[in-house]
Symmetry: C2
Subunit: 341 residues, 2 copies
Amino acid sequence: MINSEGFSGKAPTIYDIAERAGVAPSTVSRALSKPGRVNERTRSKIAVIAAELGYVASTQAQSLTTGRTGSVALLVPDVTNPFYFDIIRGTQLELRARGFTLLLIDTEESAEIELQTLRQLRRTADGLILAASRLTDQQLAEEARRQPLVTINRPAADAPTVLLDTPEVMVQAVDHLASLGHKSITYVSGPTGSWSNHRRWHAIEAAASKRDITVRKIGPYLPNTSSGAAAGDAAIGTGATALVAFNDLIAIGMLQRFKARGVRVPEDISVVGCDDIFGADFCNPPLTTIASPIERVGRVAVSMLMAQLDAKPGDAARKLAVIPTYLKVRNSTGPAPRNPD
Amino acid sequence: MINSEGFSGKAPTIYDIAERAGVAPSTVSRALSKPGRVNERTRSKIAVIAAELGYVASTQAQSLTTGRTGSVALLVPDVTNPFYFDIIRGTQLELRARGFTLLLIDTEESAEIELQTLRQLRRTADGLILAASRLTDQQLAEEARRQPLVTINRPAADAPTVLLDTPEVMVQAVDHLASLGHKSITYVSGPTGSWSNHRRWHAIEAAASKRDITVRKIGPYLPNTSSGAAAGDAAIGTGATALVAFNDLIAIGMLQRFKARGVRVPEDISVVGCDDIFGADFCNPPLTTIASPIERVGRVAVSMLMAQLDAKPGDAARKLAVIPTYLKVRNSTGPAPRNPD
DNA sequence: AGCGTAATGGCAACCGGTAGCCAAGAACCG
DNA sequence: CGGTTCTTGGCTACCGGTTGCCATTACGCT
């Protein structure tokens, strides 16, 4: 209480250790960071003193000379979107295993914040992982040229990308609905700037056209449950019997809305989501959706970034990783109603 | 492609700007960080050049002299636990508004990782926010003495704390169940190391004893849905009619398990959760739970931390913030069954 | 005009490490 | 035993900013 500022004085530096050990600071530095470079006896003496003092190297000082900061930034459009939970976790776990720190940024679905953060972090992070970037292709390419970057669910020239293979499985979803007798499918579109949104829509369109099924699109909607509620109302208006939503958040929002309005799922209408987020298995009814090992996406993104950081000029970096996905049928899809209005 | 390393050369420094502007580096530094200190014409000239070059100050270099890193670490036991997501978001938003960066750490429910990270970050972060710390009181006090710290849902000597006032509302939950005719309540306990777990249990115990209601405790269980499923089975074994769970994750896990085993909620058994996490409103049935403005918890934690950072010796810091909570009645609670086994 | 004071910008030290270069001593070799 | 090479540790410059101190100039005022 005497000194409300003084958090136990200053942290010890290599100079403190050097003094105690009777060696030069540079020796301490070497003892700690390149063990082979100094005599074993000297090294262990220094190690002991460092431990006693509770020495921790200043990462900022280190990064100043080495150019490495030991941290990687992950930019997500919305931290509260459960889809990103596992990406965050996968990233964080893999990063920690490699001795890196995670800088988490919520870009609030804004390209501007994203861009500004990207610039801000140029010096601060060794590399960036962009989940569902809202930047234009050009901006993305530009940034990729400036700093090591990996994108998730968004291809970019010059930057490695991790993709969830959801479009592939959209075909299965269409087949699933077709086999249940649905003749028409309505796609509930996500945000306009989202690349995966376009990709999913095209996949559905293509799959449907091969099967004599008509498709329609409503939206765009923000990827959250309240927007999903709005989408639910819109869907009822169109008389659709089969809905494929951009993601589970929207799908769950629709489910809630349908329940509130007395529309039965799947008797009156079938709903397919995408991502298999937390909650998809216990909503009412449990949601048929497209699942994938999302945590792995984060891990893979990290390892691709690391490969990029360690790359010698001339190394051909792996540019693309596609993570498999699969259709998970639960209770939100069922036979097409006999006589739709 | 010519040079896979060279991400557009080096970032510009104040020396580059100084040269272009024909002034000394120190002038550039001042122009950028203390505008009043230099002539307005000089300042604007420098500002223009800085903008042209896309200059961004190196935070590590800055922190080296100023001692401020501009980043705050948030430690959570499990990033995939939705409860923390709004805390993360609140923290991140408030931090960004104040020009700080968020370092997110998942401690994997481990006191050891928590402690190790705390040490690691001593130099790297200006302060730490510990959500649901698993440390002992002593460890916590020790760390609080070493660096600016704020805890969430965990009181600590020497560190400001943000508390959710859930125990207060546990009383309401007990009343709610009592008014529905329940004579006995079973508390489904969370992790042993969790302070809020103890606190909630004691609140229930106290409230029940005043109302001639018997209480029981089962557990401990990990705060996730699979553990909740196990808790569900255990609860069935005890013949309980009213369950209050440590948190929503456990409650939802129980709900799922009950559904699978044909136990009707709330007809056969009532369930109360805690936290009102994402999913509590759309699970089946929607969960009666204790809600609170969780995002605000994060914001308040940040502002208490900032107050601590800016404190002059002698300032009496606010040591405790209690965030109100309230009972949200949905469909998982109902009248006690007439003739329980 | 003369003097005090404020405004402005440069110099240089410093923050805490890293790394290149060099010298002293040890070990090795013919 | 002299010469060469290796090992080890110190010295010093440097990374990119910040800041205390000082010199210069401009300005205000009597």
